[in-house]
Amino acid sequence: MSEDNDETQTAEETPVEETESQDKVISPEKAEEAKLKARYPNLGHKPGGSDLLRKRLQKGQKYFDSGDYNMAKAKTKNKQLPTAAPEKTEITGDHIPTPQDLPQRKPSLVASKLAG
């Protein structure tokens, strides 16, 4: 249903009680927040902040940096490189990737099922 915005009140707001006693009537949103904080006590207070955003900006990043590379180099000094193509997740940290080792992402050769 539509609401013409005459006031700035949102749907879940309960007016008077909240100012008198914060615990009396909790909005569903705040109840959900309490639930989340109970499950994850270490959750930071900046939900929409830089951590979340930076994770979003880094989507698709496969390997970390030269530190990762050097760690892997140190670990594999006495190890042999695995011969089979490793899983995507194993590639960092334990093994120095080369372009040949990367899982080849080939374009789908199959036609879209929408066209079928």
Binding site: E3, T8, T10, E32, K37, S50, R54, L102, S112, G116
Partner: protein, 457 residues
């Protein structure tokens, strides 16, 4: 386009979504539940006449459907959309320098207005925009002097006379070819492209920047918005969508993850970091919770066809803004308010980050957006009515009228209602499109495309 009113008689079908009764028309895609990643539909767009309907998927493929025009005078005018062309637009890439995997998923398709016999569209993945030309070939030359029909060269000794090759009709062949590739202009992931009304330029937007391109020039792009902070630790918001005004070629808007929309005028300065207008609804600070900012993030912004309004979609609602009023929207529609008491689990399963799109009908009287459980919502602005409909194979008999659906929030669940806890959050409708003139809609579930039509078209 009149909704269900025939001239003189005033026949109106009372039903959900105002005077419209939606009927199943077609469904495209595989029936089986085992969905391959590549088949996930990522964008749906009608062209400017509505004759063509394009879809893009996670596998980088584009499928274009064409409307077969039947006799419009028939009482049950049904136009079918059939496959017109399909091609691989983008392929997976790996940026070795940045150690970045570049998905081939098509994020957006935008059609150019038709200028000649061919059709053009822009399709983009996270990093590269491509201009595709789709052209028809229905004639082929026959009677070359030096070559046989199969291409082999004729034996010179057998050529005794000169002939003029002629063009003979052949079966229609639709060819798609990439005419321009606009690459290397985006450090972050492209979320929008928008063609300008001047038909010469277009914008592309990523998380932090908006670039302006000339459709003819691929090696140069002008940066018109840059919200990257000097210190990335200070990053507080990202750009989520951007669009050019439908008529004013100097005006565009971009939305943010904090629920604001900025309108920019390119005549003011080359770099539009200073907005001309800032649209933001004030929030009651006592209502603020951990989820407030996340659910206020705008996932889509669309100008109305008449250019006087714009619509934004955030996680729980659709808002209509008058371009002349910045301090609050003029209309707010709740899409699925019952999810507010489920935000904790929706955060845990990442659904709270789902990016729903929204669209206007041809005369800006009705807006539509998707939801979960393969439900989609329509809001009739004039009639002040709304409807919840479902795209499912069970309701896919030809011309079957869609029954309105209802989600039960309270205790007692009525027959035919579905409780909030029974909703399938994997069945999400993120992409919907409305024919520019007629009451024909395209609704994409995860891997199927449904086409519905108004009964009295």
């Amino acid at each position: 386009m009149q909704c269900g009113i025939s001239a003189g008689k005033g026949i109106q079908l009372e039903g959900p979504g105002g005077d419209m009764q939606w009927c199943f028309s077609q469904v495209k895609g595989a029936i089986d539940d085992d969905v391959a990643e590549a088949d996930i539909i990522s964008t749906v767009e009608f062209n400017h006449t509505g004759e063509l309907l394009a879809t893009g998927d996670k596998g980088g493929r584009v499928v274009i459907f064409q409307q077969e025009v039947e006799n419009k005078n028939l009482p049950q005018f049904r136009s079918e959309y059939n496959v017109y062309s399909t091609f691989q637009s983008h392929e997976p890439e790996f940026d070795y320098l940045k150690s970045l995997e570049i998905e081939e998923k098509i994020n957006k398709i935008r059609w150019l207005p038709q200028k000649n016999a061919a059709q053009f569209l822009l399709s983009t993945n996270d990093k590269t925009i491509k201009l595709w030309k789709i052209s028809e070939r229905d004639k082929r030359p026959e009677g070359y002097n030096l070559k046989e029909e199969d291409g082999r060269y004729r034996d010179r000794n057998t050529i005794t006379a000169l002939r003029v090759p002629v063009l003979i009709p052949m079966d229609l062949m639709v060819e798609a070819s990439p005419r321009r590739v606009f690459a290397n202009a985006h450090t972050y992931h492209i979320n929008s492209v928008s063609v300008n009304s001047d038909n010469e330029t277009y914008l592309s937007a990523d998380d932090l920047r908006v670039n302006l391109w000339n459709l003819e020039i691929t090696d140069r792009s002008f940066n018109i918005v840059d919200i990257k902070p000097a210190n990335m630790e200070e990053l507080t918001e990202v750009i989520t969508a951007a669009e050019f005004h439908p008529h004013q070629c100097n005006t565009f808007v971009y939305s943010s993850s904090k629920g604001t929309i900025r309108l920019c005028d390119m005549r003011v300065s080359a770099l539009c970091d200073k907005h001309s207008k800032l649209f933001e609804e004030p929030e009651n600070p006592s209502n603020r919770s951990f989820f407030s900012e996340i659910i206020s993030s705008i996932s889509d912004v669309k100008f109305s066809h008449n250019g006087r309004y714009m619509m934004t979609r955030d996680y729980l609602s659709v808002k209509i803004w008058d371009l002349n009023m910045e301090n609050r929207p003029v209309e707010t529609y709740q899409v699925h308010e019952y999810l507010r008491s489920k935000l904790c689990s929706l955060y845990e399963n990442d659904c709270i980050f789902d990016k729903f799109e929204c669209c206007w009908n041809g005369n800006d009287s009705v807006v539509m957006t998707g939801s979960y459980n393969n439900f989609f919502r329509m809001f009739d602005r004039g009639q002040r009515r709304d409807a919840t409909l479902e795209a499912s194979r069970e309701n896919s008999k030809p011309l079957q009228v869609l029954k309105p659906r209802k989600v039960c929030t309270g205790g007692k669940r009525k027959k035919d209602e579905i409780s909030v806890d029974s909703l399938d959050f994997n069945k999400k409708i993120l992409h919907t499109a409305w024919h520019p003139q007629d009451n024909i809609i395209a609704v994409a579930t995860i891997n199927n495309l449904y086409i519905f039509q108004d009964k009295v078209n």
